[in-house]
């Protein structure tokens, strides 16, 4: 593998600021970005990525690989939790296994964004419909997570026996489809799409905010993510080596599968990398929110710490360049 790719990724402001945040926690600095400032950046990034994706989607149109790619992405968000669950059941009860599995079926928008920035530094083009794929991978993973609880836990069995419906499907679907971050991402995509179609001039006027500022805001936010991820690392001692292994190997496996599918879809290198990153990343926003509500029996520090404390840093630092090398190997 090309180690220069790793270095090219490493020495960019987003990744360096992420490191800075991690180091701050490790050395015990009192640097902090108080709430709700991180929320400002996470809302901004979702809005900006959605809006830009919508503009591009309008320009490229919904044809060629668009629908197959989105369908494949949604399929992966159903599939990944299934085999993740099988692996996790070796060590965890059904509740925890289901919650962690759902996390890995879904995606991390920040990882996706960082991969896009990486592609830009590599001068590799990528398309707006990948943002649509990103947006549509959250909900299926949440639904499959709850299905797993229903089919394979005592709560599910109790409900089945008594014939009652222990599961508030309405609540689950609500969380899956109307979760704030999913809603903002999809909504901004639609706004971008409509704007590009009807008022190109006003789309232009958005760019200083949604485009020019983006890279700096991402770097600032990754500083905070470094702080948070490093704080989560501590929880992982509790998690044990099985989960640590899972959180590093499962992304690799998902990436491999994703690369093969990307090849089957005929994606180019840019979109291929993004597809792989979607498969390999895990959610620490929408899915934990839904799991907390619908599977309170699971321990949040398990599912959020794996996704945020290990898989996220791994993907940001070595995963993205690694997947790039993989994509170059696998795609024709």
């Amino acid at each position: 593998m090309d180690t220069s790719l790793v270095l090219q990724n490493l020495f960019t402001p987003p990744v360096l600021f992420f490191f800075l945040g991690v180091i701050a926690v490790l050395v015990g600095s009192d640097l902090e970005i108080p709430a709700p400032l991180p929320k400002l950046f996470s809302l901004y990034l979702l809005l900006a990525i959605g809006f830009k994706g919508g503009l591009e989607l309008q320009h490229s149109g919904i044809s060629g690989p668009v629908l197959p790619t989105i369908s494949a992405a949604m399929l992966m968000s159903l599939l990944v939790p299934l085999y993740s669950f099988a692996v996790l059941r070796l060590r965890f009860d059904g509740f925890n296994a289901a919650a962690i599995a759902a996390t890995y079926g879904s995606i991390s928008a920040v990882t996706f964004i960082t991969a896009e920035s990486f592609l830009d530094t590599q001068h590799l083009p990528h398309d707006g419909f990948m943002v649509a794929a990103l947006a549509l991978m959250e909900s299926p993973a949440i639904i499959v997570g709850l299905l797993l609880v229903k089919l394979a836990t005592p709560r599910g069995e109790a409900a089945a026996e008594s014939g009652s419906e222990a599961f508030q499907w309405k609540q689950v679907l609500h969380e899956a489809l109307l979760n704030g971050s999913v809603f903002l991402l999809v909504g901004s995509l639609v706004v971008g799409f409509l704007t590009a179609a009807n008022s190109p001039m006003s789309a232009e006027k958005m760019l200083p905010f949604t485009d020019k500022l983006f890279y700096g805001a991402l770097s600032f936010f990754l500083l905070d993510m470094g702080l948070v991820a490093a704080q989560r690392l501590r929880d992982l001692r509790q998690a044990g080596s099985f989960l640590i292994g899972f959180s590093l190997l499962m992304p690799l496996f998902n990436a491999l599968l994703g690369a093969l599918i990307a090849r089957g879809l005929g994606l180019d290198a840019g979109n291929g990398l993004l597809f792989v990153v979607l498969c390999a990343s895990a959610s620490y926003i929408a899915v934990p929110a839904a799991m907390r509500m619908t599977v309170p029996e699971a321990n949040p520090s398990l599912y959020i710490s794996t996704a945020l404390g290990l898989t996220f840093p791994f993907n940001i630092i070595v995963g993205i360049p690694l997947y790039m090398a993989l994509v170059r190997q696998v795609l024709p």
Binding site: E32, P34, A35, P36, P38, K39, S42, N179, S181, D224, L227, V228, Q231, S283, Y284, I285, A286, V287, P288, A289, A290, R292, M293, P296, N299, P300, S301, I304, L308
Partner: protein, 93 residues
């Protein structure tokens, strides 16, 4: 009069506030972005942006009669989702 302090995840806040209304309280006060530690682990400010969110602290000043319906509505929520609830004495200023 009674004073009830409830501390729970922001995600269950709306449900709990509805329960307080239905129990017949004349009002309540909410502080959000509260953190803490309890039997189910720590809730830190760093996670405020994530899906887990922070805690909310709800204060209810109410007549003793309100206590029982409040308890019945809120206790199952706290038991299922986590959080604590305590009662103490208070008299109007």
């Amino acid at each position: 009069m009674k004073r009830v302090d409830l501390i729970l995840s922001e995600r269950e806040l709306d449900t709990v506030l509805r329960a307080i209304d239905q129990a017949g309280s004349t009002g309540y006060t909410v502080t959000k972005h509260v953190t803490g530690r309890g039997p189910r682990g720590a809730v830190s400010e760093g996670m405020d942006f994530s899906g887990l969110g922070a805690n909310a602290h709800v204060i209810v000043f109410c007549e003793p009669e309100v206590l029982e319906p409040l308890r019945q509505a809120v206790k199952p929520l706290l038991a299922y989702y986590g959080g604590v609830g305590y009662v103490s004495e208070a008299s109007p200023l």
